[in-house]
Amino acid sequence: MKRYIARRLMQGAVLLCMVATIVFFLGRLTGNPVDLMLPEDATAEDRAALTQTLGLDGPILDQFAIFVGKAIHGDLGTSIRMKQPAVDAFFDRLPNTLVLIPWAILLGMLLGIPLGVVAALHRGGLLDRAAGTVAVLGVAMPSFWLGILLIFVFSVELGWLPSGRMGGPAHYVLPVITLGTFLVAGFMRITRSAMLEVMESEFVKLARIKGLSEAVVIWKHCLRNALIPVLTLWGVFVGNLITGAIVTETVFAWPGIGRLTYEAVIYRDFPLLQAVIILKSILILSINLAVDILYAYVDPRIRLA
């Protein structure tokens, strides 16, 4: 188990280096990095100073070394617009996203997994088809548009819920639905197909031969096995959540890292965007590592291998 975690950590470190390298070279290969990293009204002294600190007059490999050296010490540049270290801007906003995401995951799992089980139990029936329609629709609607639609219906027309900004519990409802919808569809689809496969297996037959109740057979013996493929897709889901957060926070004016990313794009704030991408990559890798450990817990074949 320890070796497994160590190996995963190593892989994560390699991936992170790749991301940093890509980000670095994207900033250099297209035009002059000074233009990207300073506001348009920067003075000649500012430019000279930046060229000095980043070693921009030296060979590109030296520049890369400086970039990595600074990154290791937590310096990923200064945001053009906010005039503060990009890393600080990220960590100021991170908590606001972290209070949003768990609710979306909870919504996705609490709705998606049971719906998938029920759809599998009623394969081909009315419930299955209804669930299938919801899933197909959930995938076809762009989530930013879904968010706007929800605002129109529940804030503008009905006036039941606030249309944006952080606040009390009511402020969470629409963003969580917007962010969680694709998870509901995703969890449901995978749970359904995994359940259908597991329900045909011999060990389920043996569980019935033992005379166990249908509830134990389905929710213990089948579901625990069906959760394995659900967990393997977590990696993809985490990536989608991070992207989904950009869109959702933009629509609902939610001051998290997603909204920060959007602002970095529309204000062409390259140092901020660069920092956000590297830090988000670290976030994704950490969550993936946690999921891998959870995965090993669910599947003894991995835990004990």
């Binding site: 329900m199 045909e200 297996s201 011999e202 060990f203 037959k205 043996l206 569980a207 019935r208 031969i209 033992k210 005379g211 166990l212 109740s213 249908e214 134990v216 013996h221 625990r224 096995n225 394995i228 669910v298 599947d299 003894p300 074949r301 004990l304």
Partner: protein
């Protein structure tokens, strides 16, 4: 161990019909099967794959595969009660406690994500005698260790916390056996339990089943396609062909004087352990489609002794000897 001919009948199957209703038509996989099973005896159910043996077993457990299978006719009398009329809840009470089953493939019979002890515990908690429902966990686990010891698993204390993937196929099948008999059932169905095992392991497992039977007095319905195993395991044999039992009788009688041409062909296709090496025969042709069965004898198309009457009508079941019956026009009534 010769069976007591007067042993009480624990399971009686009468005219069982289980068909698959598909869009393309009806597959008559089990089409009028009757047999009985006595306390302490092993009845072999033999036939080629696809003849309906496994589906017969699943019909008895009332665990038919999804996709249109249905038992439409017949009776399954377990201790005199027709379990085909039981409600699903009553059926759950019966499974494991009065009738149980060992499946063919040990690799997939155990749930990969639960420890052996956990899977055994679920079965032990359903035991009738000396109920464990309120017993503390440690006590149940002690019982689980005892159950593993009973199926001759070495170091059961360690095995109990292991997972299926950490065990060999033979060991897993022993665990499946332990689970199947934890509820102390009167009838055990063993559906080709050794087909997936190595030859040496097969013998050990058959011996184990015999021993467990001697200890508990349960009746075993032993399903196999291997006549060699029948001679070793069974007291009586029922030969199944295209959804029906075509011959049934004591093992010795079947081997010495088989009455149905199909039985004769099956026995001839088994290599003999002793005696001169003769020619092994194979049976020409294919069994009829279960979707489009002939009116006459189902073996007629492959039978070397076929006559007109075989094609015109199905032969009735003929009593050819003491406890020995055959469905053949040419069988001589006793």
């Amino acid at each position: 161990m010769t069976p007591d001919a007067k042993g009480e009948t624990v399971l009686e199957v009468r005219d069982l019909h289980t068909h698959f209703f598909l869009r393309r038509g009806v597959v008559k996989a089990v089409d009028g099967v009757s047999f009985s099973l006595r306390r302490g005896e092993v009845l072999g159910l033999v036939g080629e794959s696809g003849c309906g043996k496994s589906l017969t077993a699943l019909s008895l457990m009332r665990l038919l595969p999804k996709g249109g299978a249905q038992t439409i006719k017949g009776e399954v009398l377990l201790g005199g009660e027709n379990i085909l009329e039981c409600t699903p809840a009553e059926m759950r009470e019966i499974r494991g406690r009065r009738i149980s089953m060992v499946l063919q493939d040990p690799q997939t019979s155990l749930n990969p994500v639960f420890a052996i002890g956990d899977q055994l515990r679920e079965a032990l908690l359903r035991r009738k005698r000396a109920p464990l429902t309120r017993a503390p966990h440690a006590e149940v686990m002690k019982e689980a260790v005892a159950a593993l010891r009973r199926v001759e698993i070495a170091a059961p204390e360690q095995r109990i916390s292991q997972y299926p993937h950490q065990m060999s196929g033979g060991m897993k099948q022993r665990v499946v056996g332990a689970i199947a008999i934890s509820g102390e059932p009167g009838v055990l169905i063993a559906d080709e339990p050794t087909t997936a095992l190595d030859v040496t392991i097969q013998l050990q497992y058959l011996k184990l089943l015999k021993r467990l039977q001697a200890e508990t007095g349960m009746a075993i319905l032993f399903i196999t396609h291997d006549f060699g195993v029948v001679g070793r395991m069974c007291d009586r044999v029922a030969v199944m062909y295209a959804g029906r039992i075509v011959e049934c009788g004591p093992v010795r009688r079947i081997f010495e004087a088989p009455q149905h041409p199909y039985t004769r062909a099956l026995i001839a296709s088994v290599p003999k352990m002793t005696g001169p090496v003769g020619r092994l025969t194979t049976i020409e042709g294919q069994p009829p489609s279960l979707m489009d069965l002939p009116v006459g004898c189902r073996f007629a198309s492959r039978c070397s002794l076929v006559e007109q009457r075989c094609l015109d009508a199905y032969p009735g079941t003929v009593r050819v000897g003491d406890e020995h019956t055959a469905d053949c026009w040419k069988a001589t009534p006793a």
